[in-house]
């Protein structure tokens, strides 16, 4: 297997607040990696560093072998990186279909009929097809989360970064979303997924990494990681139920 994403000694801090502390992480092609950690541990910031919305103080980021540390967010998207946001951020004034088209035309460089067909195909997979002409600002939470996923997929990513996409959903909604994500992973897209809903995460990922205070403190086989002392300590009293299910 070859690495699709390599973070090397990545550090970033805002004054005394450390959000990435000498993080080194390698994601293999085709892998599904889960990331857990308490709130404020620096998980979302790690995504911001990977996608280029934050610049690191030091360290390098390699994507498919190329050093992208100095590349803009737009360039990284066109190279094949896409993410969803924890708090959905649709283009509220555009319709669902137009949201998808922006990603397909700008991110994946498609045009005309091919772009439309691609978007329709993705919308069908994410079960948003019947809402294609709805203005995105009026969608419900589940549909907004689905739109986050749709938009990321329309950019034809090789690496998909999901940020707490299952958070806030009901159990049934969560199950159907997990099914969709499993299909996406099977189609060959590498996934890095930050999630507090651990049982959803464990249904998909091959490997689990634990982040706390901007530090990567453990990484390995999901079951073993969940049973490890570090995780038990971090999650003690916070989400023991979920850990139990895992």
């Amino acid at each position: 297997m070859t690495a699709i994403l390599e973070l090397q000694n990545l550090s970033k801090s805002f004054g005394a607040v450390v959000i990435a502390d000498d993080t080194t992480l390698v994601v293999e092609q085709g892998e599904a990696l889960g990331i857990i950690g308490p709130n404020g541990a620096g998980k979302t910031s790690m995504f911001n560093l990977i996608t280029g919305t934050l610049a690191p103080n030091s360290g390098t980021i390699r994507f498919m072998g190329d050093d992208v540390t100095g590349s803009s967010a737009a360039q990284r998207c066109r190279m094949g990186m896409a993410r969803s946001f924890q708090v959905p951020q649709p283009f509220g004034g555009l319709t669902v279909f137009e949201n998808a088209l922006v990603a397909a035309t700008q991110g994946a460089g498609m045009s005309g009929q091919a772009a439309s067909d691609h978007c329709l195909d993705i919308l069908e997979r994410t079960e948003l097809l019947d809402k294609a002409n709805t203005v995105a600002g009026s969608l419900t939470l589940l549909d907004r989360k689905r739109l986050e996923l749709t938009r990321a997929l329309c950019a034809k990513p090789k690496l998909l970064l999901l940020d707490e996409i299952a958070g806030g959903l009901t159990e049934a909604e969560c199950v159907s979303l997990v099914d969709t994500i499993r299909d996406i992973h099977k189609s060959g897209i590498t996934i890095v997924w930050i999630e507090h809903v651990v049982h959803a995460l464990l249904a998909i990922v091959d490997r689990l990494a634990v982040v706390d205070f901007g530090k990567l403190i453990a990484s390995g086989e999901p079951k073993a990681i969940m049973a490890s002392r570090e995780v038990q300590e971090i999650y003690l009293g916070i989400e023991m139920d979920e850990v139990g299910h895992g």
Binding site: T53, S72, A74, Q89, F91, E98, V102, A103, Q106, A108
Partner: protein, 287 residues
């Protein structure tokens, strides 16, 4: 009959105001930049057309083919070279920089062309007219209005039916997310300014054919542009056309009552509408 005439002339004049306003509205809508130099850029376009038509001996309408791409290119370079650097999220830097630009353009024009009023010679179009129901309508104002409607329709089409328009709306909606979707916002802003100045070029040439101009009149055009945008409602292109027409008709009727009241009447109607409907007649933008 005089009143009817005044109203029709006002409507046709409104087309010019709508074109001036459309470029302004476009820039504000896409990047929240208030372009104080907009009026002076219109006058710059008129002078460019004057020079080109004198050097090449062409009719001002043919010169459009030259001035529109020139202004568009200038817009792109201006945006990428200077204005992008002012877009830091604070409203003040772009205001100050475009104000400075306004001063620079005015003085450069003054240096190059002197303060003498100039006019673009549109030949027979200057006086050609047709009579309808006892009212004489100039062909040039009619053409100007038709072009304005076409420009607004064109912008509307670009905004809502093309990939470029989606890029404009996506960036306007959320710049950071647009970046993550592969949009280079600096380039998109450059294209928006290019489009805006292409419209400015058309407006400038029609302005130059309709009235005389000198380097100092840009500011007044800017005010009319602002008023048309705000009367129509921010972010609504057809509303901008209506805003331009209302302003044109108000000025024309004011001028009919007393020639000195022309500009004043426009401002009064603008203030009235602002007092009654602060968000304009047809607001679209929610924030």
């Amino acid at each position: 009959m005089d009143w009817m005439n005044a109203i029709i002339q006002g409507i046709l004049l409104g087309g010019l105001y709508a074109m001036i306003a459309a470029g302004l509205s476009l820039i504000f809508g896409v990047m929240r930049l208030v372009n104080i130099a907009h009026g002076d850029l219109i006058i710059l376009a008129a002078y460019l057309a004057l020079t080109a038509s004198m050097l090449l001996g062409l009719h001002p309408l043919l010169v459009l083919l030259l001035v529109v791409p020139m202004m568009a290119l200038f817009g792109y370079v201006l945006q990428r070279g200077i204005l992008n650097g002012t877009l830091t999220g604070d409203i003040l830097p772009p205001l100050l920089v475009t104000f400075g630009l306004s001063v620079i353009i005015q003085n450069a024009l003054l240096e190059a062309y002197s303060a003498d009023p100039q006019k673009l010679d549109s030949g027979v179009l200057d006086t050609a007219s047709m009579t309808m129901g006892g009212i004489s309508i100039g062909i040039l104002p009619l053409l100007m209005f038709a072009v304005a409607v076409a420009v607004i329709a064109g912008l509307q089409f670009i905004f809502y039916r093309t990939a470029l328009g989606r890029a404009f709306r996506a960036v306007s909606d959320n710049q950071d997310i647009a970046q993550l979707m592969g949009l280079n916002r600096r380039h998109v802003f450059g294209l928006a300014m290019a489009l805006s100045l292409a419209v400015v070029a058309v407006a400038g040439i029609f302005l130059g054919m309709r009235t005389s101009f000198d380097p100092s009149v840009g500011g007044g055009r800017l005010i009319f542009g602002f008023e048309a945008v705000i009367i129509g409602g921010l972010g609504n292109l057809w509303g901008t056309l209506v805003g331009g027409v209302i302003l044109g008709v108000a000025q024309s009727i004011g001028g009919q009552i007393n020639p000195g009241w022309q500009v004043l009447a426009g401002h009064v109607v603008f203030l009235l509408i602002l007092a009654i409907k602060p968000r304009g007649l047809f607001p679209r933008m929610t924030d």
